[in-house]
Subunit: 128 residues, 2 copies
Amino acid sequence: MSSSNSPCAACKYLRRKCTQECDFAPYFLPESPQRFANVHRVFGASNVAKLLKELNATDREDAVKSLAYEAESRIKDPVYGCVGLISMLQQRLKEIQHELHAAKKELSSYNLNPQTMQYLLTHPGTVI
Amino acid sequence: MSSSNSPCAACKYLRRKCTQECDFAPYFLPESPQRFANVHRVFGASNVAKLLKELNATDREDAVKSLAYEAESRIKDPVYGCVGLISMLQQRLKEIQHELHAAKKELSSYNLNPQTMQYLLTHPGTVI
């Protein structure tokens, strides 16, 4: 049963009585009905209940958050879900690593000794 | 029905007859039984079937691949699933962007004119 007198979002959605022992109540508050609707649509309530039961109580909140994120991503993008974001991040990381590699190569190519480096920093635009 | 005479991995797992009209057969080949076992465990066969039906036929293979990836990630990491990888990639991207920013700042701080740049490149270790 959630802290208020209302049934939790899961029990309300499933039209069942929300008891003190309800496994969903701590993670599916009545004021966030969409969170349960999403995970139920994508994973199914029984799969979510089974997963939560297998976890330590301290891990359940994080697990529900990640399930809710996955479910919302799958509803927004039914083909790729949050795997689409993984591909996008991996691609972006590759590009930035490439840029960083080029910048470091350029820096090292000057092969500046500390004295020259100091001089150039304090005398911008020096022509040798 | 899969291309071979064996039932597809889904029908074999669910112990049912695999017919010509089987929605799973093209994506769950008998030689990859784990793929179906994983998505069934995490999403449930009926949720997967429903999702596939709502997609264009050309998108279904990609959808099954992303579902299989999510399912495998959730089995390996029941708390965070593939959302753990998203957090890790976002963190790594932030670090590399920071490094790139620093490298670019260092490059621009030299404020080298083209003639000096050319000289330093061809005369490494120059002391001014």
